[in-house]
Amino acid sequence: MTIYQISIFLENKYGKLSEILSILTQENIRIIAATVADTSEYGILRIIVNEPQKAFQLLKDNNISANISDVVAIQTDPTTEDFARTLTLLTKAGISIEYMYCFSVKEKAILILKTNNWDATRDVIRRENIRCINEGELVNL
């Protein structure tokens, strides 16, 4: 139901983003998805990779402030209806979404969600039979 996401503190300095990404790619870590949320001063880079624990350790070894956490990964059909339906179900259950982003792998759309209430989110997913993926499935997609 969940996969690992690595969050990285990012200063808005020229070249910082590519420097961080190349630390990972040099060690053959595959970056599946990346998104940056930022303010004028700093941002948080969020990435999904094929070997999250190794990537997290690499970042630590390079003295980079990073965090590893679980996020919900929902597999939807790449059609707007399906996407909207999932969000409506969550909203109806009184869950608010802190952030989300979407990426696709081999024509499958993956929606990453962070909500304010993990237990309620899990209940909705089970009850409504929403298709989620786990770490193993993600890597094998």
């Binding site: 990285i8 200063e11 930022d38 948080i44 980079i64 956490s69 802190e98």
Partner: protein, 433 residues
């Protein structure tokens, strides 16, 4: 309570003052041999015999760092150079450096002074002492080296830098005590934890002597917690030999300044008049136990105060409060006087933050603003609204303390500048109008 020199450390104030007067008169006669003081006494019409009481010291003009620079290199020598055995020099960023000359007797007395400090905080000949100071001309190296040897400790003159090697020595040699600058102590602890070493369990460290860099009580507690040690504040300055001038006792409440070595005065840096105990002012020191290069009423530029009252440890030598900064470090912004240490005190309360910060003063439009960059320790969240709330909370606390609102920015760890291993704390880019 055990003392290195019980009689001298617990001497009655009356006997101490008698002792001081005798040593002061000796020192003034000695100083008159140097080209600098010969001239100074002549100009101010003073002869050594005019000093009949400790009160009379006030008739002698102050000696400043500028005087030391102008006397470079040998203008303050009060004995022939052939009687001198060592010279120390402090790096001068502007103009000439300053030097201090030592006779063999001076070095012997200095070693005793440092040994007394180390004994006071519980160190014995069974200890293994690792000195992470730079050696060479910097007095924190050789000063502690000779002191620790006098004490009889096994010394590890590791010198500065190379963190991995420092950690290896600590582990392999069973180091029990470090002399270290505070910002490096936290860095060293962080690296140990990153390497999977828990200094509280995996090393024999029990004591660290921290100095050479202003730090707050919060930073000391953090060092103690991280390393599992007792951390004692030490004060030294190259003009006054180096380490050993004043040192905390086990009470960790003020630094005993050894008054059989130094006469201490606290003055208002503006009016130059003495201030009462408990009031902050500039520290002025007179050496009374040095023959090669006596200094009379030396203005240290350090701001501190004398703590009133007796110390439970039984030592009768006065205690200096934690240093409040340098009289030249004081920041005046929008008419408000403030010190970097006030900012540090607040930042250290947030465990989300690392120990490095940088204060930048800059003119924006028509007004001068304060910018503070502070390093995050670890990213503890994946949500930047949490970071924004943190920024707001720190800013609020800083505003309460400083009475002005700084612009705070969180930066990645390891991104702030350091110079010779010491953190750069203040950058003043203001346009002078």
């Amino acid at each position: 309570m055990e003392y290195w020199q019980k009689e001298l450390e617990t001497i009655s104030r009356e006997n101490l003052e008698k002792f001081q007067l005798e040593k002061l008169q000796q020192t003034i006669r000695q100083a008159a041999n140097s080209p600098f003081y010969k001239q100074r006494f002549k100009e101010s019409g003073i002869t050594p015999s005019d000093i009949r009481s400790l009160e009379d010291l006030k008739n002698i003009p102050f000696t400043t760092k500028e005087d030391l620079r102008n006397s470079y290199p040998y203008g303050m020598a009060a004995i022939p150079l052939r009687k001198c055995v060592r010279i120390h020099s402090s790096s001068g960023t502007t103009g000439n450096p300053t030097v201090v000359l030592h006779s063999a007797k001076d070095l012997d007395q200095w070693a005793n002074q440092v040994a007394r400090c180390m004994y006071m905080v519980g160190l014995r000949d069974t200890d293994i002492f690792q000195n992470t100071s730079g050696y060479g001309m910097f007095t924190g190296g050789l000063g502690f080296q000779y002191g620790a040897e006098r004490l009889g400790a096994l010394t590890v003159p590791a010198a500065a830098g190379n963190t991995k090697r420092q950690i290896k020595f600590i582990k392999d040699f069973g180091t029990t005590c470090l002399h270290i600058i505070p910002s490096y102590a936290t860095r060293l602890a962080e690296v140990m934890y990153e390497m999977g070493i828990d200094p509280r369990k995996d090393t024999k460290l029990h004591t660290v002597c921290i100095g050479a860099e202003p730090h707050s009580e919060e930073q000391r507690r953090r060092i103690e917690e991280l390393l599992g040690v007792k951390a004692y504040n030490c004060f030294g300055m190259s003009e006054m030999n180096g380490p050993g001038v004043a040192f905390e006792c086990p009470e960790q409440n003020g630094l005993h300044i050894w008054e059989d070595y130094t006469i201490v005065e606290i003055i208002d840096p503006v009016t130059l008049q003495p201030v009462p105990d408990g009031q902050v002012g500039e520290l002025v020191l007179t050496t009374i136990n040095r023959e090669a290069m006596p200094l009379l009423r030396y203005r240290t530029r350090d701001l501190t105060c004398i703590l009133p009252g007796d110390c439970p440890c039984g030592r009768t030598h006065k205690r200096l409060a934690r240093f409040k900064g340098r009289s030249d470090d004081m920041i005046i912004l929008k008419g408000v006087n403030l010190f970097p240490i006030q900012i540090e005190k607040i930042l250290m309360n947030f465990k989300e933050l690392g120990s490095n910060y940088l204060i930048t003063l800059e003119t924006v439009g028509n007004s001068d603003e304060m910018f503070i960059d502070v390093e995050l320790s670890e990213l503890f969240t994946d949500d930047y609204s949490v970071l924004q709330r943190l920024t707001k909370e720190i800013t609020r606390q800083l505003k309460d303390e400083l009475l002005l609102t700084p612009r705070l920015k969180l930066v990645a760890k390891g991104s702030l500048p350091t110079q010779d291993g010491k953190a750069v704390r203040v950058k003043d880019l203001r346009k002078t109008i």
